[in-house]
Symmetry: D2
Subunit: 147 residues, 4 copies
């Protein structure tokens, strides 16, 4: 059990595969079974009333688990999200970044599962909870995407 990519390598690879959105996200911390990421909240992430939108929080949770799988499996990974669940617990603060703490619960041969707690930066009360399942196709295969 070890990392295929360290924090620096993972950051560079995310910039390469997510050119549209990588500037929104920062890898804050990375271990073999956990990752912490920051969503740099901009106006486009907000809803009326100044709260962070649901899709922005979904995107943050999704990228966390994806990044965790990449960090373990390496650059060749073509993992795709297959299932997700999310609970919205409190109103996020619009003026604050969002911090997501992800635990890798399972990294199997074909499926990976992570869960995520999200916080407004500076608060210790979770704003949302998510869990996501990724399907991992065999190396070199694109056909297996989406199971």
């Amino acid at each position: 059990m070890s990392l295929a990519l360290n924090k620096q390598e993972l950051t560079e690879y995310l910039a390469q595969v997510f050119p549209q959105v990588h500037k929104d996200f920062v890898v804050e911390d990375l271990t073999e079974t956990a990752i912490t990421m920051r969503l740099k909240v901009e106006d486009r992430h907000l809803r009326p009333g100044g709260t962070v939108s649901g899709p922005s929080m979904f995107g943050l949770a999704d990228v966390c688990v994806y990044a965790m799988v990449l960090a373990r499996k390496g650059r060749q990974s073509l993992a795709v999200t297959t299932s997700s669940s999310m609970d919205f617990l409190r109103k996020p603060e619009g003026g604050a970044d969002m911090i997501a703490e992800c635990r890798l619960l399972k990294l199997g041969r074909t499926l990976a599962v992570g869960d995520v707690l999200m916080y407004s930066d500076g608060s210790d009360k979770p704003v949302a909870r998510a869990s996501l399942t990724y399907s991992i196709p065999p190396v070199g295969s694109e056909a297996a995407a989406f199971g």
Copy 2:
């Protein structure tokens, strides 16, 4: 059991409360227990490889159930998403709009639940499935948001 807002009124109200994103969405059909909406797919909704992004699909499912609740409860509604689940079934086509068909499964005093099937326009194979729960605060109250 009747609609508080018809299709035209609902469209106008969504434009008012979602100024950032309402142009992405079109109400295609509305009955007392179902709504069909279209996501007009633009470059900003895509991921590398040309598929519609997960957050874009989450946003479409979320707005469907929200619009359905508004159509039944009327303009005063301050409903907020509390829970969601989503399964990604097939790769969406990047060049096609997405069509979402939502059924209202429950409209209670304080909770509403809808489920959604999403398709690439022109295909009859579902690309994703979602279900969402909304919490409906008492009329005139903002305090009850997020339960």
Copy 3:
């Protein structure tokens, strides 16, 4: 797209692989993409107040999707549940059987997804909604169970 097992064959196979619980369940209807099953509600399925218990409803939804996968993939299947979500919509009636209507949304090489609406027999208002993902190991392999 055709059935590997018809209703009679499926019923017999379920009796063989679920000796503890098969008598609780009846296959009412089966097509290539849908199955209807009945839970014959007994005292052991009830909670105080006479409502059907959550675990009993979860079990019904789970067996529906499993039976649907068996009907399509045939007897060799070692499919295991990997993800599920469930919404409880109304209080079920304790004195009535539960009827579950399952749609097969996806039957891929390695993953199958179905969703389920459950009703108290005789009512047309759904009591619960569920969706379940099954992982399907390659034929002859037990190793792939749980991905």
Copy 4:
């Protein structure tokens, strides 16, 4: 933030409201925001092959969050499950009890959310993950059940 019922009081109250099943469950540990419970695995909780059944694990997760809500809100609570999601991560061991560790993520006026990790006793690899939302009706009211 304090407990309305301590471990002893909670155990006695569960025995009273769950006469059918309370002997299956033991409250192992209780704090203001977390509870650990044991499922004493018997033959009736097993599936062929000796693994703990999905419905048994669902029941364990459900009772954990319910017990946590009771411990905080007290005996009058009529909370009902409204939403749940569950991921099955590894094959549980049939010969071992199951240990569930639940965190209370939110305890609002009308909604409570907890998440749960489940382990085969003696192992540190999670067998399943669950999250559940409970709706909490106003004191003295049964009408609000199921939102």
